[in-house]
């Protein structure tokens, strides 16, 4: 018995030592991010360069990001929400002001026209990536799917039977799902008109979606388990980059109807951030040309930074990306972009309720 107790005690001690091994790094930077939304090598590089520890938490929606910032269970130094959520955070005084004098790589003119024209109202963010929403499809199961989708645009996502027996996926995010439906009816993305919302709701309700998902939509399309789905541009381009690198046959495509949601995500500093200066150092680090390029190469979204896109265009290796008609939102022909506006938290809840309702 005594031996057992000794064993237990020593094992406790050892595990306690492992558990509480003192942090050798000086400071910790807490980042709140989307999944797969940063090149993880850059984090290692940043840790080494500044002798800090980067701790990253990942969520799958703007709403979850808002919840994390508002509840402040962890004090994040950096968060990367989308345009309308940035405004929501700003209006609820959940953001710290950005001190532009601390950002030596920042220049107002470094960002694309479309990004500046459709910027959120808040001044306290630094553009990170931008993109569109569109329809990603698999060419595995259905012939002529490309033609049908290009001819029918958003309607393909809503009219059951347009493509017989197709398996369709929808983003499990109320704002994005409603965006597609409102665009299908040619309404504004920011409408709060009940009858318009109701029509959008009905279209969502009357369509049978095989999967409501997020990152699994793109995977299911690449597999052929879904025929097409609403995705963010980067979902498609990330798969394209991976498939190209692995030299696989590419049996999936992407189409963006002219009227689409243009969005951009920005780096912000939440109000409870504890490492205000380090947060700026990180933002500045991400704005450095070399790092911004590395990040863009990995993620698949187009960078709003002009020099990054110029670099990609000058490099033959990325021809398959830069020659793609929908890759860079700044260069999509005939694009009629509309970005999300913050419409109040009541709106957010109403939409979430309508969306839940539409699923059954």
């Amino acid at each position: 018995m005594r031996k057992n107790i000794k064993l237990l005690l020593s094992f406790l001690l050892i595990s306690f030592l492992i558990g509480c091994s003192p942090n050798t790094k000086n400071e910790s930077l807490y980042i709140l991010n989307w999944g797969d939304y940063i090149n993880y090598d850059l984090l290692d590089k940043f840790e080494k360069e500044y002798d800090v520890e980067v701790i990253i938490s990942e969520v799958e929606s703007n709403e979850a990001m808002y919840e994390q910032i508002k509840m402040n269970r962890t004090s994040f130094d950096i968060a990367i929400p989308s345009d309308y959520m940035i405004d929501q955070l700003e209006k609820e005084h959940l953001l710290k002001e950005i001190d532009y004098s601390l950002l030596k790589n920042y220049d107002k003119k470094m960002f694309s026209t479309i990004s500046s024209e459709h910027a959120p109202e808040s001044k306290n963010f630094i553009p990170y990536f931008n993109g569109t929403i569109g329809i990603m499809y698999s060419t595995k199961n259905i012939k002529d799917i490309k033609k049908t989708i290009e001819a029918n645009g958003w309607s393909t996502l809503f009219d059951d039977g347009l493509i017989k027996n197709a398996k369709v996926g929808m983003y499990n995010s109320s704002r994005d799902a409603f965006a597609a439906s409102l665009l299908h009816h040619s309404y504004s993305l920011n409408t709060n008109n009940d009858s318009e919302l109701n029509q959008a709701y009905k279209s969502l309700k009357n369509t049978k979606y095989n999967v409501y998902g997020d990152d699994n939509l793109k995977k299911n399309i690449v597999t052929g388990n879904l025929d097409y789905a609403l995705v963010y541009s980067g979902d498609y381009y990330e798969e394209l980059i991976v498939a190209t690198e692995e030299e696989r046959t590419i049996n999936f495509g992407y189409y963006v109807p002219n009227n689409t949601n243009y969005w951009q995500d920005g780096m912000v500093i939440p109000k409870d951030a504890k490492n205000y200066e380090l947060a700026h150092t990180f933002i500045d680090f991400m704005l450095e040309d070399e790092n911004a390029i590395e990040n863009t190469e990995y993620i698949g979204y187009a960078s709003p930074i002009n020099s990054v896109m110029d670099y990609l265009e000058s490099d033959n290796e990325y021809d398959y990306l830069t020659s793609d008609p929908f890759y860079n939102p700044n260069e999509i022909k005939n694009l009629k972009p509309e970005s999300f506006k913050f419409l109040g938290i009541e709106y957010m809840i109403k939409l979430e309720e309508l969306f839940t309702k539409s699923k059954s």
Binding site: S61, E67, K70, N210, V211, Y212, T223, N225, I349, E353
Partner: protein, 272 residues
């Protein structure tokens, strides 16, 4: 003497702080419209009680009850005979190996087990190479299979324990009195193993009805259970009031269940 006196009161305080106080907070939040735990912007309202009757959530309640009930009954149908067979195995070695094999799946990560099913249930899967293709994602069947697979051990073990407690002399007495095997089972074994069945049903039904990862993965987001609704109210729409009301109702149902089990089970050791 000290340790002897304080351990229990401390435990009761601990349970009070971690079970009862959150319950009171959620009960309070049920009567409010609130965004998160923002007590400065509380508005009292009974809207949550109206919402709860909204048909949009009815499907979730019905799904939770029906699917989990089917799953737990299936667990019982498979689990009872298995536990019975295990109890009556003559070879101790075989018994122990089988027991180990039934415990072990609980050591395999629950999420990965669900992902295993998810991979199988898609039409394009590794099974294609041997000529099989399922298309079950989004069907109730997929969820039921997932539930049975995840929670079956929680049915087998309570029943096994209660069967194990049966004294063989009792069975012999029954046979001596001329009862057939079936009669003995019906009037001796079954009633005496009822506590195990109750506990097994509770341990499979409740987690099935409230898990949110399982239906999320296996239904492609098409079938929502109670767990999904609660999860999305806290995590996504930040509607703590409504989420709290659902939780409070759930806890109340569970209170009653535990109370019931507690009454049946004088020893208070039924749940394992």
């Amino acid at each position: 003497m000290k340790t002897r006196n304080i351990s229990l009161p401390l435990y009761l305080i601990w349970l009070f702080v971690l079970v009862f106080i959150p319950f009171l907070i959620m009960l309070f939040l049920s009567f409010t419209k609130t965004r998160g735990l923002d007590f400065s912007h509380l508005v009292f309202s009974l809207d949550n009680f109206k919402d709860i009757l909204d048909p949009i959530y009815f499907d979730a309640y019905v799904n939770s009850i029906v699917l989990s009930a089917i799953a737990s009954l299936l667990c019982l149908l498979i689990g009872y005979p298995v536990a019975y067979i295990l109890t009556n195995l003559k070879s101790n070695k075989l018994k122990n190996i089988l027991l180990a094999m039934f415990i072990l799946p609980m050591w395999s990560n629950m999420l990965l087990r669900i992902i295993g099913w998810e991979i199988l249930f898609n039409p394009h899967s590794i099974l294609n190479s041997i000529g099989i293709s399922f298309d079950l994602i989004g069907s109730p069947l997929a969820i039921i299979i997932g539930m049975v697979s995840t929670y079956l051990p929680l049915m087998i073990f309570p029943i096994y324990t209660s069967l194990n407690k049966l004294e063989s002399s009792l069975l012999e007495a029954s046979y001596d009195l001329g009862a057939s095997k079936f009669q003995t089972f019906k009037s001796v074994i079954l009633p005496l193993s009822l506590p195990g069945i109750y506990s097994g049903l509770t341990m499979t039904f409740l987690p099935s009805a409230t898990n949110f990862a399982l239906p999320e993965r296996l239904s492609g987001g098409n079938i929502n259970l109670l767990g999904n609704i609660i999860n999305s109210n806290f995590g996504k729409s930040f509607n703590y009031g409504f989420g709290s009301l659902l939780s409070v109702i759930l806890i109340s149902v569970i209170f009653v269940l535990v109370f019931f089990i507690n009454r049946k089970d004088k020893d208070g050791d039924l749940l394992l």
